[in-house]
């Protein structure tokens, strides 16, 4: 099948690649662009392991074609940490044991990163509801929820301190 030219801004960098129009975004990220942080748990939009941030929204990257993302700005787990090290959420997942096998973790953190921008002061209910698109088979979610709530309050205290 004839390939098309796709341009993306991923984790702050301009990239381009050739891909068939039918290729899913997750496959292009993993196979063509070497970004193996987002994982594949189902390829049917149920598990959220492939979650990336696309133009400011959490998107399951097995749900769309790379062609549909042409021109988009994407953040993957590889782009969540800043120049000064790990993001608060990444540390918080470690601190609160919010991961075990780690397979869901990239999608979880990428989703939580957007969730906390959408709602910087979530309740436990907000977090449980807002994370319901991401499945985890290991943790039972309790420590994931804890990690996200702790990250939210840490980010908020940092914001207050800066003001």
């Amino acid at each position: 099948m004839k390939k098309m030219h796709i341009e993306l801004t991923i984790n702050g960098k301009q990239v381009e690649t050739l891909a068939e129009p039918r290729e899913l975004l997750i496959h292009v990220l993993r196979e063509r662009l070497g970004l193996t942080g987002p994982h594949i748990g189902c390829e049917t939009s149920h598990c959220g392991a492939c979650t990336v941030d696309l133009n400011g929204k959490s998107v399951k990257s097995c749900t769309i074609f790379a062609a549909q993302a042409n021109g988009a700005t994407i953040t993957t787990i590889e782009g969540i940490a800043g120049p000064d090290g790990m993001h608060v959420l990444q540390n918080s997942f470690r601190e609160h044991h919010g991961l075990q096998c780690g397979f869901c973790t990239p999608g979880m953190i990428t989703r939580a990163w957007r969730l906390l921008q959408e709602n910087p002061t979530p309740t436990e209910e907000d977090v449980r509801f807002g994370m319901a698109g991401n499945l985890c088979r290991c943790t039972g979610y309790q420590n994931i929820v804890k990690a996200i709530l702790a990250a939210a309050s840490e980010l908020n205290s940092a914001k207050e301190a800066a003001q």
Partner: protein, 806 residues
């Protein structure tokens, strides 16, 4: 020592050893997307393989035409059974002593069975080619019900076994029969049942489900033709076993096979077995001369690799009118699907199901298990469970509840009067186990008190009255569960897999500058071995856990071990780690004695150093000793500081626990709302409380899923109705309950550090807690038994059948 010397307590804390909630060393890479899972592996020239799978549950394969598939640009090869036959690889042995088709040999026996293996340059060309392979089927009658499979005129499923009246586990009494396993004293039990004051009888079904780790199974096989070395990366819970099997099957010397388990995205039993995908990838790599990657998709995973449970457990429990249990009778019809591909120790065709007398002092018992073939996927793996222990725990915990109904007695009290007492340990059960230790009454009392049991019962009584008075439509269930696990397989005298004893191992190297490397025969799939095994060792050898690197999963470097499943890592490899550490310490003591110019016996161990008794300022730290071992000639001792231990456990370990679930049920919608879930675990010595708690949350959530909705269901035609995550229930953060964890500590008397293992306890104990809560809500209205999974519809149906909808 001087003022600068850290105190004893500071040094202990600095080790981050046993008992510390040390943060995990694995997390830095996983939280940054830098894990290395099998699908992340990319090699020069790598190609992709995938299967054409059967649409039918039972059919003869008249022909397979791959002409069109081969014409797709990028397609390199199509393998059929006929291509594997000359190598003798069209069938493979299963871990249960049966054999299984690698590629369909004349017929298919379950939907999703592998028929052809197609290899192509990329995934999309591969998908195109799979569509174009034309299989001509002749449908055959399908049997999905194990009872119907055993009828005299049932269709013959395994034609390859025609005329074989002996199987791997004794006599086969029918063409679809696999084995009969019998234990205990049948006449004695029958006599007890005949004379008992009270007998409760029930058929308890534990439905078919699937471990469904978030990462599916897969591998990359690479045959290097120049040096003759085969490397196989894959999702293997037992990499050394895979190496041995690969060698036996292929004839390649074991020394020329390297098996590597990279990071594994959850296993839960799914990744113990050997699957056709591994064999076909190896063959394809040999044939094409290129690395071949096979990754199953979710549908393949749910349809073809490793289901769990599917046990029909028929029980009779006898008791005095005061409630003292006098005997237990149990017959299981075990649906194994098309091939017996259970991953149980060889001598245990039904795993450790004979732990089904549970936590109770039952004087006589009988167990019979009949394994049966049906047109369903093979497997029968231990899904977060030690070989059928979940089935056993569910059975006995349901039988106790049914007996309580019969006796009109409180089920908590019935358990209490039947528990094995603390002074009875070590306790020999009627079905042949020696329980090493336990203190059930203490745990039970602590649990009942923690949930305020009496108040809950009073609330429930009020709720029933209100319901009957039309004041509420909500019912309340209190789900009790007390379980005894049997883990840590196992003693070589009775536990082996394919003849290999189920020992495990640890090899330690102390570096000259005092840090260390330890390698084990196990493999983490999320349990955090790199964190916890370093903790065991830190306490044993006085080197901080942060300076101990743990490696597992590469058969070229790790010592031989039987892998990680059945909660065996801590009981077996954890023991090997402690004992290898003790060997290090023994040599270190001799070195220290030389350096300090005293006799070995004049030294005592103090956290991280040997100290001359009574002279605290004279000591050598482990770090100093390590340096000396490489730099100084010490008379009578070899240089270096290394040790290895292969540990054959003297007994299994027996973790136990008390779980209590409180549930509110809407009688009109069938929706169950988990109000609270309390989990008390006794896993002996606790290595890392944070990780234990995480294991309990995760296992309890899998139990929640299984009890409340998760199921691999088939229709009469053998179509798998639950092969996507749309249909197969995996709870999200939204419906998953909140857990309260608690513990008691009864160390294992025979384990070097007293640890027992915990990973599977919450699944074993959790399922009966959830299920008993549903049953308990309807007990006042006459319900005795209703099969899992208790999804909304099934709960609604219970209410309907009990006439609660008016």
């Amino acid at each position: 020592m001087n003022d600068q010397t850290p105190t004893h307590d500071e040094r202990v804390a600095g080790l981050k050893g046993l008992g510390s909630s040390r943060k995990r060393v694995e997390d830095a890479r996983f939280t940054q997307g830098k894990g290395n899972y099998v699908d992340d592996i990319k090699m020069a020239g790598m190609v992709y393989g995938d299967f054409v799978r059967s649409q039918y549950a039972h059919a003869r394969i008249k022909s397979v035409d791959s002409t069109a598939a081969k014409a797709v640009p990028g397609v390199i090869a199509v393998l059929l059974a006929a291509d594997l036959a000359p190598l003798g690889l069209h069938w493979m042995p299963t871990l249960a002593g049966d054999k299984q088709m690698v590629l369909a040999d004349g017929k298919v026996l379950f939907q999703g069975q592998e028929i052809a293996f197609v290899v192509a340059e990329d995934k999309y060309a591969l998908a195109d080619a799979l569509e174009l392979v034309v299989v001509d089927y002749e449908e055959l009658p399908v049997v999905v019900d194990p009872f119907k499979a055993m009828l005299p005129d049932a269709p013959v499923l395994r034609e390859d076994l025609a005329g074989q009246t002996k199987g791997a586990h004794g006599e086969r009494v029918h063409h679809n029969h696999i084995f009969r396993w019998e234990l205990g004293d049948k006449p004695a039990v029958e006599a007890v049942v005949a004379d008992a004051d009270v007998v409760a009888e029930e058929m308890v079904y534990y439905h078919r489900t699937h471990p469904c780790p978030l990462e599916t199974c897969g591998c990359v096989a690479s045959m290097d033709k120049i040096n003759g070395k085969l490397t196989l990366w894959g999702t293997f819970q037992a990499p050394h076993v895979v190496r041995t099997v690969a060698s036996l099957l292929s004839g390649i010397p074991e020394s020329n096979i390297r098996v590597v388990s990279p990071d594994i995205g959850g296993g839960f039993g799914n990744k113990v077995g050997v699957y056709p995908g591994y064999i076909c990838s190896i063959v394809a790599s040999i044939v094409t001369g290129r690395p071949v990657k096979w990754i199953e998709d979710r549908m393949d995973n749910l349809m073809a690799t490793a289901f769990a449970r599917d046990y029909w457990m028929d029980g009779k429990i006898a008791a005095t009118k005061e409630g003292k249990i006098t005997g237990l009778w149990c017959h299981v019809t075990a649906d194994h699907g098309a091939f017996d591909a259970c991953a149980d120790p060889t001598k245990f065709p039904a795993g450790f199901f004979n732990i089904c007398t549970g936590s109770y002092d039952i004087p006589v018992a009988w167990l019979g298990v009949d394994g049966v073939y049906t047109n369903k996927a093979p497997g029968g793996v231990a899904y977060r469970c030690s070989f059928r222990v979940t089935e056993a725990a569910y059975f006995i915990e349901r039988m106790i509840e049914v007996l309580a109904i019969k006796l009109n007695m409180d089920a908590a009290e019935l358990r209490r009067i039947n528990f094995i007492r603390k002074d009875q340990f070590p306790y020999n059960s009627a079905l042949g186990w020696e329980y090493d230790s336990g203190d059930y009454h203490t745990a039970w009392d602590k649990a009942l008190k923690a949930v305020n049991y009496d108040a809950l019962r009073a609330e429930q009584t009020q709720r029933v009255a209100d319901f009957k008075a039309g004041k509420t439509r909500s019912l309340m269930g209190i789900g009790l569960s007390f379980f005894t696990e049997i883990v840590g397989a196992g003693p070589i005298k009775n536990c082996d897999i394919l003849g290999m004893g189920m020992f495990d191992s640890c090899e330690i190297r102390i570096h000259p500058t005092g840090s260390a490397l330890a390698r084990l025969g196990t493999i983490s799939q999320g349990q955090g071995h790199a964190t916890t095994f370093a903790q065991i060792l830190a306490t044993e050898i006085g080197i901080p856990a942060d300076q101990i690197v743990i490696e597992e999963g590469d058969t070229d470097t790790a010592p031989y071990g039987l892998g990680t499943y059945g909660s065996r890592s801590t009981p077996v490899a954890g023991a090997a780690t402690a004992l290898a550490g003790r060997k290090i310490r023994a040599k270190a003591q001799m070195i220290a004695a030389y350096l300090l110019e005293v006799h070995d016996n004049d030294l005592e161990w103090d956290v991280d150093r040997f100290v001359v008794k009574g002279v605290p300022e004279r000591f050598k730290t482990m770090k100093e000793i390590a340096y000396a071992s490489y730099h100084q000639a010490i008379p009578g001792l070899e240089p270096g500081l290394e040790a290895v231990s292969y540990y054959d456990p003297p007994n299994m370990t027996y973790p136990f626990g008390a779980y209590i679930c409180v549930m509110d049920i809407d009688a009109d919608t069938g929706v169950a709302d988990i109000r609270s879930f309390y989990a008390l675990d006794d896993c002996g010595t606790r290595i890392n409380p944070m990780i234990i708690e995480g294991q309990v949350h995760g296992g309890a959530t899998e139990a929640f899923a299984i009890a409340m909705g998760q199921e691999i269901a088939y229709d009469e035609m053998g179509n798998n109705k639950s092969a996507t995550l749309m249909d197969f229930f995996i709870p999200t953060a939204w419906e998953t309950p909140h857990y309260t964890t608690d513990h008691t500590v009864t160390p294992s008397p025979h384990h070097p550090i007293g640890a027992k293992g915990v990973g599977e306890s919450p699944n074993v104990g959790g399922v009966p807690a959830f299920s008993n809560a549903v049953h308990d809500a309807f007990r006042p209205f006459g319900l005795t038994q209703s099969h899992m999974p208790h999804d909304h519809w099934r709960i609604w149906r219970i209410a309907e059948q009990l006439g609660l909808h008016g």
